[in-house]
């Protein structure tokens, strides 16, 4: 399970408001990834049931506001990615072709943050604030740790975007999400090839199911 490995399965996100945190967790649950990043929530059986109900009714209840929630979920992940690459690149242990390949990834994540923020604002929504991010020790200690976490991260990002596809109602937002998702796929494949991983792990990009999430969330959230 991918989410177990990223940052050693330790929570890294702290939200400035309870609303932001609830929004993130709601959509992390729906699309299947990301809930393990956040601190301070252990879903009770009742909450898990609520999430399940949310899924069942989401297609009917889907409105513009719902798409904004999904965008805010994506924004949180993009904030995390942008921050991750900024710190990793600043640590300065990449060089040559690797540096050339990773540097644009950081730029892309920053542009994703800007574009998703702008899209939320354009739609009349309120973008979430950048969460406080605290990484476990060792993530940025050397090239291997950085790239291995980057690899897990990118695969998770791909899965996250693909999990959202059937939930997004607006064609424009779907197009935006897809155009970002494809770039995350490129990142994932390139990084996998740098660390001797498999750049093509699936014939069709996977997306996580609700069952996977609920099974994974419980034991991992602090």
């Amino acid at each position: 399970m991918m989410a177990d490995q990223l940052f050693g399965g330790k929570p890294v996100l702290q939200f400035s408001t309870g609303h932001d945190r609830r929004t993130f967790l709601k959509w992390a649950g729906l699309v299947g990834v990301g809930a393990t990043f956040a601190t301070g929530l252990v879903p009770s059986t009742a909450q898990a049931a609520e999430l399940k109900t949310g899924i069942l009714t989401s297609s009917k209840a889907a409105k513009a506001a719902t798409d904004i929630d999904i965008l805010n979920y994506a924004l949180t992940l993009e904030y995390l990615e942008a921050d991750f690459y900024a710190k990793g690149l600043a640590a300065g242990f990449l060089s040559g072709r690797e540096l050339e390949l990773i540097t644009p990834i950081g730029d892309h994540e920053n542009q994703h943050v800007a574009a998703v923020t702008q899209t939320i604002t354009t739609l009349g929504g309120t973008p979430v604030a950048k969460p406080t991010i605290t990484y476990p020790a060792g993530i940025f200690d050397n090239r291997d740790n950085f790239l291995k976490n980057a690899s897990v991260f990118e695969e998770l990002g791909v899965t996250a975007y693909h999990g959202q596809v059937p939930l997004i109602t607006s064609g424009d937002i779907l197009g935006a999400a897809a155009s970002i998702a494809g770039v995350e796929s490129r990142h994932a494949a390139v990084i996998a090839s740098l660390i001797g991983g498999n750049p093509f792990p699936n014939q069709i990009e996977k997306n996580a199911s609700m069952e996977t999430v609920l099974a994974a969330v419980g034991p991992l959230v602090s």
Partner: protein, 257 residues
């Protein structure tokens, strides 16, 4: 407006290193402006369009890998890419049947000098994969069934992986080669057709009926001139088609935005 249409033209020619945030946002919010409503009548139309492209890609890798130009890690990568494309063919074929449609027939293909060397093989591969990425993104807005959309998006992402990894094998620049900016760019059906037609033309003489020309309408008529001008070796044809598509695209963008 002008800047966006020229940015698109540049992208097609592979000269666009990076889209500015402002341009990207503009493109993002006009994501579907490229697609014309007449392009696809229904999901089966879109799926048959995708199936034709996947047939073409699968045949391309079957021939390319059989040419014995590669070794080591890259040989393994390209073998996986071939099996991915074959899987996509099967998946699309089955989906079309399940939906009660009739899958298009496998088109006749010819790749000219693409397999003359390792570099020409991989260079053509990058072109193909990026066309595939743009084609899926350009067609996604037409898909109505969420399950079909999920599958198409899943294939789209894998094509993006192929494009990036093969570009990296060639040592292409990171930005503008391995990556195409922070956002993938959709390619309209008429432009995709202009790009792949040389590969379909070289054996068939005509574009197969019921194949990729699903309702190209006036745009397809316009393309006829371009197809014969392009001709020649497949690789050069693809490059020429890209330039042609760039011009066509610039006109189109002017029309539509």
């Amino acid at each position: 407006m002008t800047s966006i249409s020229s940015a698109r033209a540049d992208f097609v020619r592979g000269q666009l290193d990076q889209v500015s945030g402002k341009q990207a946002l503009f493109a993002l919010n006009n994501r579907w402006a490229l697609a014309s409503k007449a392009d696809f009548a229904n999901d089966i139309d879109v799926l048959n369009y995708a199936l034709t492209l996947e047939y073409l890609e699968a045949a391309f890798y079957q021939q390319g890998n059989a040419a014995g130009l590669l070794s080591g890690t890259e040989k393994g990568y390209l073998a996986t890419i071939q099996s991915d494309e074959e899987f996509h063919v099967t998946a699309l074929f089955d989906t079309i049947k399940k939906l009660g449609g009739t899958p298009v027939e496998k088109p006749g293909v010819g790749f000219g000098d693409a397999f003359a060397s390792r570099d020409s093989y991989l260079t053509t591969s990058v072109t193909f994969e990026n066309v595939g990425v743009g084609a899926y993104l350009g067609a996604a807005g037409f898909i109505k069934d969420k399950g079909v959309l999920q599958a198409a998006a899943g294939i789209f992402g894998v094509e993006a992986r192929h494009a990036a990894v093969v570009a990296n094998l060639l040592g292409m620049p990171a930005e503008g080669g391995v990556y195409k900016g922070a956002f993938e760019t959709p390619i309209a059906q008429a432009d995709v057709l202009a790009k792949v037609t040389p590969f379909l033309m070289s054996q068939m003489g005509t574009v197969p009926a019921g194949g990729v020309q699903t309702g190209g309408g006036a745009a397809a008529g316009k393309d006829q001139t371009g197809m014969f001008v392009l001709g020649g070796a497949a690789l050069l044809g693809a490059a020429g088609a890209a330039v042609y598509a760039g011009r066509h695209r610039a006109d189109e963008a002017t029309d539509q935005i």
